[in-house]
């Protein structure tokens, strides 16, 4: 499905601040897998996610999706097949636009935005049905600007927007990190449900060990730009909280 071959990314080449964020990573994500990525700050998780999304380009290596090279495509072209949810709940939606407008853009993620009115009754009904599955009562507020909603609500809607049209890979960049514990759990449950219902290939970056153990079919740990641990579903289910915490204890 998604195939990363010998990806290396160095920032600030030749300067005193030179840092190798990702070092020769080779990684395959199988179709329908839900991979969880953990690692200390600066271990290269976010860089890896940005490399897949196309915000930054790799120095060497290749990224293939469905056996098609995508590493030279800019982010807005890649977003046709790669959807993402940001850590900052405010980034994933446009605050001054209504919920309906935001969903309209999401529905057109794979296509051009022509100069025609696309907001008809059928579309509104589709969005209303989708939004009502969240159980947040937002289906009656479709004409409200996004900016009037809470971070948790916006993050939940961002998640829902990713499946308004077909998506090959879903990238979740610490989607619950900026939320209160309850909203965080809600958003993670919604993400899990959406991924399972739509059989998505997903990659979740998280600092929350509880989340890392509860969700996903595979667990990967990164350190200094490399993959140092890789557990499949079987091995992951046998891991305990303390085991994962011990991965982060360097001083013992």
């Amino acid at each position: 499905m998604l195939d990363l071959q010998h990806i290396t990314k160095v920032f600030n080449v030749g300067k005193a601040t030179e840092v190798t964020a990702v070092q020769d990573i080779t990684l395959q994500l199988n179709a329908g897998s839900y991979t969880v990525l953990v690692g200390a700050n600066g271990s290269g998780k976010s860089t890896l996610l940005n490399l897949i999304a196309g915000n930054i380009y790799a120095d060497t290596g290749s990224i293939r999706l469905h056996n098609k090279e995508i590493q030279r495509l800019p982010d807005y072209r890649r977003s046709q097949c790669v959807a993402r949810v940001f850590q900052n709940p405010l980034l994933g939606t446009a605050a001054s636009l209504t919920i309906l407008d935001n969903f309209r853009m999401a529905a057109l993620r794979r296509s051009r935005k022509w100069m025609k009115l696309g907001m008809d009754r059928t579309f509104t009904q589709i969005v209303r049905d989708k939004v009502s599955t969240l159980g947040m009562g937002l289906e009656d507020k479709l004409a409200q600007p996004m900016g009037t909603l809470s971070g948790g609500q916006r993050q939940a809607l961002t998640l829902l927007m990713t499946v308004m049209t077909d998506v090959d890979v879903l990238l979740l960049d610490e989607p619950s990190a900026a939320l209160d514990p309850r909203s965080a759990r809600e958003v993670m449950e919604i993400a899990d449900r959406i991924i399972q219902e739509n059989k998505l290939t997903a990659l979740l970056v998280t600092h929350n060990i509880g989340e890392a153990l509860r969700y996903g079919t595979r667990l990967i740990q990164m350190e200094s730009g490399r993959v140092v641990r890789d557990y499949n579903q079987q091995a992951k289910s046998e891991l305990g909280h303390a085991d994962v915490v011990s991965w982060f204890d360097y001083y013992e």
């Binding site: 407008d101 853009m105 999401a106 296509s111 009115l117 004409a143």
Partner: protein
């Protein structure tokens, strides 16, 4: 009374300009100073076109195209070379001064005696009423086109570009290209205003664009205040608020001149008026502070 009719006609000539500035400043969040140059460019193209014997409609479209070209230049400098939009605008505006001077061939050109866009319409006896009718029709068309555009899928993508770039890039939109389209449309409208104003006042002057961005901004801010005050959410109503803003702004200026402000102090008055409008929402805070 005629004095105020003239102010309203002038405000309506500024109609396309304020819609354009609303697009660049409020929707795209880009402070676009190209305006001063593209406004004059529209007037210059109109003067040259009419003098060459082109029809008023053709010259209007040429002016629109000229403005769009100027706006694209600013947007390309801003997005391709990653130069601050303010600087990109100033660069293009400065360059346009020479372009305008070369096109016009001199610094001032009267346009009396040509078949301009207002002279074809002769329903009423008073020429002012005919001019008002032509402008009303044009503004109605502009309003319908712009409110359709901004409600379309393309328009939503435009509004999202100014709102949250990461969001709309994640939805497959090339934001750099969107900014080029946006500033092109915005400056085409500004040039349209320049063209209308030149035909209304009967001459084109190389300096007529100086400070025009401030007049437009004043109107946009009045419109924006109305939008916030009335909690407007529909984009078409926002356009109405902005058009309403320009009429108010020009009437206040006319009133200032009417009570005897020296015409030489017009730009100073304009600036102070805009400063006053910008500062007004902050005055409340200062008053509360002094009470503490």
């Amino acid at each position: 009374m005629d004095f105020y009719v003239a102010a309203i006609i002038q405000a309506m000539c500024f109609g396309p300009l304020v819609i354009g500035l609303f697009l660049s400043m409020k929707i795209f969040n880009i402070p676009d100073i190209t305006t001063d140059g593209s406004y004059t460019l529209g007037a210059v193209i109109t003067a040259v076109g009419l003098a060459q014997g082109s029809s008023a409609i053709v010259t209007l479209f040429l002016a629109l195209a000229g403005g769009a070209l100027a706006g694209s230049c600013t947007a390309l400098i801003h997005t391709r070379l990653r130069i601050h939009a303010l600087l990109a605008g100033i660069l293009v505006m400065t360059a346009l001064y020479s372009v305008n001077l070369v096109l016009l061939g001199r610094s001032n050109m009267p346009l009396l005696g040509y078949m301009d866009i207002f002279s074809g319409f002769g329903v009423f006896e008073s020429p002012d009423h005919n001019t008002l009718s032509v402008l009303l029709i044009m503004l109605a068309i502009l309003f319908l086109v712009m409110s359709y555009l901004l409600r379309s899928d393309f328009g939503i993508a435009m509004r999202a570009t100014g709102d949250s770039e990461p969001m709309i890039r994640a939805q497959g939109v090339n934001t750099s290209r969107m900014k080029v389209y946006g500033l092109a449309i915005s400056n085409a409208l500004v040039a349209c205003s320049g063209s209308l104003m030149a035909q209304f006042q009967g001459f084109t002057d190389i300096n007529m664009g100086i400070g025009i961005v401030i007049s437009g901004l004043g109107a946009v801010i009045i419109g924006d205040t109305a939008i916030n005050f009335l909690k407007v959410r529909a984009i078409s109503v926002m356009l109405v608020c902005v058009l309403f803003g320009v009429v108010i702004f020009q009437l206040i200026l006319a009133a200032a001149l009417g009570v005897g402000v020296d015409a030489n102090l017009l730009k100073l008055t304009t600036s102070l008026l805009v400063l006053f409008i910008v500062a007004l929402p902050r005055m409340g805070g200062i008053l509360q502070l002094s009470r503490r």
